[in-house]
Amino acid sequence: MKERVLILGAGYAGAVIANTLAREFRRKIAKDELEITVLDRNDMGVNQGGFTLLPFGLYTPEDLVRPRKESLSPRIKSRFGDQGEVTDIDLNRQQVTTKSGTKYSYDHLVIAMGARPDASGVQGLEDDLNTFYTSMDDALEVGELIRNFKGGRIVVSVSRMPIPCPGAPVKFSFLLESYLRDIRNIRDDVQLTLLWPMEPIGPPEFNKLVTGRLEEKGIEDIRQFQLGKVDAANKMVESTDGRQENYDLLITVPPHKPQQAVLDSGLTDEKGWIAADKTTLQYRGPVGDKDNVYVVGDNGPADIMKTGIGAHYQAQVVSHNLINTINGSNIKSKYKGETGCPIITDMASDAHAGRAYIATWSYNNPPQSFDTTQLGWYLYRMYYYLHWDMSIKALM
């Protein structure tokens, strides 16, 4: 009987797993012994990591999108649009339903549907929502706003955690500072403030580096500021504990939550995300323990950091374990919490070299002391051009 692997979501994690399995099981697929199906509502892949750099013209929209059928192996059955939009996930019946009404059953399921922004989660935020987190168009719109900003106070607010790529707003703040200083030459006319919802920004050494650089660059940072309310008429934000800050331009990272189908299917825990074992990534939520269901990427548990680097490592572990299971071995590879955050402290300009670094860590191994480097900037810049053909195709 044909074995069926069903992958929900063709984003970073889903695509890496699909392409890895398609390569590994090419003979089984050719002999019709195995089928890999990927469901996603969008037929275009978007590299969301690049949104942070898009407002500064460091990439173009064309650099950050790729038709999914070009990045998924032709050995994979892919369904997009209504045929790919998941509306129900029934883990007990081992069945997934899409908007078109088609039902897909599976032997092995991977849930990699990402997270979605929810601006309605903060009172008044939708009245003044400028964000580089939600879409290509929104990121380009932020670019327009900062290109035309005349002076005053720009507030970058991270509403609350968890969000995908939690280091991105810090990176954005440093890029914005460089941009206003070296490109627009209006740095002296702008007060820059970062509102951060927690006390530390990342692990201790990461926090140490960014705290020092924020101070050095005159970027005010206010910690423990969970966004409670936006008063667009008076251009004021208020934290959940009642502190108020005014602004001339507000750039926000809205709260995030899982896809509606995940919520409607009752897969999430009390923290609002899909519960899974932190090392095996197998489903361990309210529906029960499901060893044949893997949870990867941004829709995963709240205590696994939502980063592209983490999604990649998770995808490798899940791929390996699916390969072992399908081949009949019970050997399990474990996710050790490998994750990371590319940090940029300076944007390249005619006045300054760009500087960046990719800090990495795992569950019990925080990053060592580090600093950003010039080559780090170029490596990072180059990476997004290679993302599609290197990472998504699971070559590295």
Partner: protein, 121 residues
């Protein structure tokens, strides 16, 4: 804490340090050469290479090619290419290995056609 740092003799000599500095200083040539545009250019060259690498890593054709390129008949043909005319080609049509090779070639041609539809959009 500085007092917690233990100095370890790793046996590095002046020559090792000179070699290390030489590598670091050479890396500066690359660092100075790069800018955002050269990085984009390098990436543009690497992209098709990665596509080829993906193709090579994802097919049994490489295994078939590896063996066929080492086939003794192939060695002999390369040393002394046989002259095959129209009638010779027709005669080979009855050979089972020829038929399999032709079958693979035809499937490859059809796959090229399908792939061109995917990429052509």
């Amino acid at each position: 804490m500085a007092e917690d740092i233990e100095n370890v003799n790793i046996g590095m000599t002046q020559a090792d340090i000179d070699a290390f500095l030489d590598i670091v200083r050479t890396a500066r040539i690359m660092q100075s050469y790069l800018n955002d545009e050269t990085v984009h250019g390098v990436a543009n060259v690497m992209t098709p290479l990665l596509k080829l690498l993906n193709g090579v890593a994802s097919t049994d054709l490489v295994d078939v090619l590896e063996r066929s390129m080492q086939d003794p008949d192939m060695d002999r043909a390369l040393m002394n290419p046989p002259k095959v005319g129209m009638y010779g080609a027709l005669r080979e049509m009855g050979d089972e290995d020829f038929q399999k090779g032709l079958g693979i070639a035809i499937e490859f041609l059809k796959a090229l056609g399908r792939a061109s539809e995917d990429i052509g959009d």
